[in-house]
């Protein structure tokens, strides 16, 4: 349970990072809408689209990893391997967030203009589609959590982890969109520090879980994680 809490937590806090990258989208989304309730609804529809994409990616990742695990079992502990990979990605993301590691250069988005048109469009469908497509934008944090949910090798759990993470990003994104401004730099840098701590802990836990299940038979619970998680 503690891990799920951490995932949500680091989602919430990590979204200080999201605001930097995806915040402008949220602002664009609410720019034209004067009525508060409608603006909120737009943000919710948009964020739901995003979370749905995350969830489905999580499910696919988990399924893929599970199939791979079946194929490669004699050769490689796929889940343990993915766990360690996910942990490393999370720790790396923590370091990026706190500024100790430079963000890998991100390529420019080929469909940026079209994407902006979708965000500004008045219809609910286009807002929803913008959310769905936003879910695919390259993002280190998403990849780290995807690796994490893949390491579970269970379609439902994979989707669940991504939903938790996605919901965690709601408060900051929606607030940003509603307020129409990015959080102040100072507030953001504080939030980022806390976020990186949460990410770091999640990452460290994930790595240790991976190492443990690599060296032990798969049915043993990992001592670092509470039992409910593994036995679910």
């Amino acid at each position: 349970m503690m891990e799920y809490l951490l995932i949500t937590m680091s989602g919430i806090l990590g979204s200080a990072h999201c605001v930097g990258m995806c915040g402008p989208f949220a602002i664009l989304l609410g720019q034209r809408e004067k009525r508060t309730m409608r603006a909120l609804a737009r943000q919710l529809v948009y964020s739901s689209g995003r979370v749905l994409t995350y969830a489905m990616l999580g499910a696919m990742g988990a399924f893929g990893a599970w199939r791979l695990g079946l194929e490669l079992r004699p050769l490689l502990e796929v889940q343990a391997f993915l766990s360690i990979l996910a942990g490393l990605l999370l720790v790396g993301q923590a370091l990026v967030t706190v500024g100790w590691l430079r963000r890998p250069v991100s390529a420019s988005c080929p469909g940026a203009a079209e994407f902006a048109a979708l965000l500004k469009a008045p219809t609910w469908t286009s807002v929803f589609v913008a959310g769905i497509l936003n879910g695919f934008l390259p993002c280190g944090l998403v990849y780290a959590y995807l690796a994490l949910s893949s390491s579970r090798a269970d379609v439902l759990q994979g989707a669940f982890i991504m939903v938790l993470f996605g919901l965690g990003t709601w408060p900051a994104m929606i607030l940003t969109g509603m307020a129409g401004t990015l959080l102040q730099a100072k507030v953001r840098s504080h939030a980022l520090r806390v976020a990186s701590a949460a990410l770091f802990i999640t990452g460290a836990l994930t790595i240790s879980r991976g190492i443990y299940s690599w060296s032990h038979s798969e049915n043993d619970a990992c001592p670092f994680c509470t039992d409910e998680v593994m036995k679910e």
Partner: protein, 690 residues
């Protein structure tokens, strides 16, 4: 030039009809056009993109439910009672979510397939439509009869990925083309037309020859013309790369696309809006893109045989697998074959790289005549330089004029020099200060020797000492002494003579271009053998060879230069010839790639394979390296797409590749080719150009 695709401007086979409907070369362009064209009204959601987004959403649902179904099957009854209820539900959900994908994306694909059929073009679209339809019909039947496997995820992912892949591809092509529009977009769309009735602002297309147009300070000049008002300063960087503004006196030509720096400019139009210099430049590059190089022809040949071959293989796969493993296995394997064999990546492997490179070159003031020239650049092993106007600044200042009758000699030299573009003539013109009051003579050019004309009933010769000898003109002592001295120093000279006597001698001072040394170093770094050929005297050649550390063959006539190129080709390999494009036409034509320097405003006249608009010698090494890189990228692209097609078809026809993976691989393959080709965009930055 036949019908062109309304999106990416590739030629499309004509179907004879002359309708005003937009024509698209492929399904990707059709879709991409829908996405980009419908964004006209701001705030209006663009339906094509929404369609794709929704289709992605529905397809992902189908994937997730399919995965849930598979994992239940594979779990082997661990949660038997749970799955029995869910199984049926999930199958219906798959159907429920798969249908919208078909409606959202199937339409464009069917339309494109039908159009291909109408044009009697053999494409994969029709095969894809058949495969997708088969997977849908079969799966729907299974769901409704609650029996048998379902393959909705196959149909959905093929639709989504094929659309995505083609969209990427079409956008890649468009971006390669757009780099040119950038040039034309610089031009203003409206102009200030001056007439008796005052000043009117009219569209640039309404301007006629001879109209007077006013251009304000800071504006770009909309069309080619002649200055009629006050002198102005013009920034011609776009054509010549020179950052310093050029002064244009009344009567001087100004060119479309250059900008008026500081004062009001009144010009008389000398070329219509479509014939301006920038448009000609863009048109040349665009035409260059339409000429296919050897690699592109290779890809075309492969694609030509690939499609019929694929149909046969797909049919064979269908039959064999249907007999061996049942109908659905046959359909799936055949669909995999069709999807993976789609020669998208192969089709764009060469043109995309070539287009990006040609556009990149044009943006850096180098016009490459065709993709084939670009490919040949990579094979060059040696470079021949014509010295005058190439290694040297071309602005030969007259150091001294030796003559008894200075006035007459200068006057006649100016008369002859007026009608020649040779660097030395220009020097004489500047020295003499020739203005329009000197009546120009009917001049005969004696290649490699000089000029002659009939002035005041006398045959007057202007040219080398050799010309004087050949024409039997003797030289008096003071002149002979000056000549010997000048030759000793290696200084260029021009003699002027008539009535059996050399009457005057112009001694020039020639300067190497400031970048000559670094340009030669760069070329040596590229491993090219270098030779300088010149019609100059051997002493001067020797001095140059010493100065630059490069072999020089001096005293060559144009035909000797040809021979030098032939020798070099025999000894070293493919030879490029660098000249100023004016006096060395035959040598340029005889070389494997001709480079003409400084043809900024004379673009259309020069027939060299590579026209460098500026006088910057370092661009030669730059464009050769661009050629080498382009060919490397082309080879990578071709290797990748051929290997991918062959390996993919192999896997698919043995039934080892699921159509979902095939569709994913197709997108990845197209994206790789697009990304690899656009690496050439960064070439200029890597090489330190601005």
């Amino acid at each position: 030039m036949g019908t062109r695709c309304s999106f990416c401007e590739l030629p499309v086979p004509d179907n004879g009809s002359q309708s005003a409907e937009p024509v698209y070369c492929c399904f990707g362009c059709r879709f991409a056009a829908q996405v980009t064209r419908s964004t006209g009204e701001e705030g209006q959601a663009n339906w094509a993109l929404v369609r794709l987004g929704l289709a992605v959403f529905f397809a992902m649902n189908v994937m997730v439910y399919s995965m849930a179904l598979w994992s239940q099957e594979l779990d082997g009854g661990e949660r038997a009672e749970f799955s029995a209820t869910l199984n049926g539900l999930f199958r219906y959900l798959c159907l429920f979510f798969a249908l919208p994908v078909l409606f959202l994306l199937g339409g464009s694909l069917v339309e494109s397939a039908l159009e291909q059929a109408r044009r009697r073009q053999f494409g994969t679209d029709l095969l894809l439509v058949t495969g997708v339809a088969a997977s849908y019909v079969y799966s729907a039947w299974s769901v409704l009869h609650e029996n048998g496997p379902i393959y909705f995820e196959v149909g959905c992912s093929v639709l989504v990925f094929v659309t995505l892949g083609r969209w990427f591809e079409a956008n890649g092509r468009l971006r390669a083309n757009r780099s040119l529009d950038g040039l034309e977009k610089l031009l203003p769309t409206s102009v200030r037309l001056q007439s008796d009735a005052g000043e009117r602002v009219v569209p640039v297309s309404d301007v006629a020859l001879g109209d007077n147009v006013r251009v304000l300070a800071g504006e770009r000049i909309p069309c080619d013309g002649r200055v009629v008002g006050m002198p102005v300063h013009v920034d011609e960087r776009i054509l010549t790369g020179e950052s310093a503004a050029v002064t244009k006196e009344p009567g001087d030509a100004v060119f479309a696309g250059t900008s008026n720096v500081d004062s009001d400019l009144l010009l008389e139009v000398t070329a219509c809006s479509q014939e301006g210099t920038v448009q000609r430049l863009a048109r040349l590059v665009r035409e260059a893109r339409m000429r296919k190089g050897p690699y592109e022809r290779l890809a075309d040949r492969v694609a030509y045989w690939l499609l019929p071959g694929v149909s046969v293989i797909a049919l064979a796969t269908l039959i064999v697998h249907s007999v061996a493993g049942g109908g659905e296995r046959g359909i799936l394997s055949a669909l995999s074959v069709v999807v993976i064999a789609c020669p998208c990546a192969l089709g764009i492997a060469t043109p995309l790289a070539v287009w990006v490179a040609l556009g990149e070159a044009a943006h850096h003031q180098v016009v490459v005549h065709s993709g084939e020239v670009l490919e040949r650049l990579a094979t060059l092993r040696a470079l021949c330089f014509d010295k005058t106007g190439t290694m040297t600044t071309g602005e030969n200042a007259v150091e001294r004029c030796v003559a008894e009758n200075q006035t007459l000699v200068q006057r006649r030299a100016a008369q002859l020099g007026l009608s020649s573009n040779h660097a030395l003539s220009a020097g004489i013109r500047t020295y003499v200060g020739a203005s329009s009051d000197v009546p120009p003579a009917a001049v005969l050019t004696l290649p490699g020797r000089g000029l002659s004309a009939l002035i005041d009933g006398e045959d007057v010769f202007l040219g080398s000492a050799r010309l004087m000898e050949e024409r039997g003109l003797g030289m008096a002592w003071p002149l002979q002494k000056e000549l010997d001295e000048a030759l000793e120093r290696g200084a260029p000279i021009v003699c002027l003579g008539w009535q059996g006597q050399v009457r005057g001698l112009f001694v020039f001072r020639e300067q190497l271009r400031p970048e000559t040394r670094s340009a030669l170093d760069e070329l040596r770094r590229l491993g090219l053998a270098i030779l300088i050929v010149t019609g100059d005297h051997a002493a001067r050649g020797g001095r140059l060879a010493e100065e630059l550390g490069v072999p020089v063959r001096a005293g060559l006539l144009p035909e000797d230069k040809l021979a030098a190129i032939v020798d070099m080709r025999r000894d070293v390999g493919a030879v490029g010839m660098v000249g100023d494009g004016i006096n060395d036409g035959p040598a340029l034509a005889a070389s494997d790639v001709g480079f003409a320097l400084g043809c900024g405003t004379d673009l259309a006249r020069v027939s060299a394979g590579v026209c460098v608009l500026t006088n910057d010698l370092t661009r030669i090494a730059w464009v050769i390296e661009l050629g080498r890189r382009t060919v490397r990228v082309i080879r990578q692209n071709l290797f990748w797409s051929l290997a991918y097609n062959v390996a993919g078809i192999g896997l698919a026809c043995t039934g080892r590749l699921s159509p979902v993976l095939a569709a994913t691989a197709m997108v990845v393959s197209s994206m790789l080719v697009v990304a690899n080709s656009s690496r050439l965009c960064g070439f200029a930055r890597d090489r330190g150009c601005e």
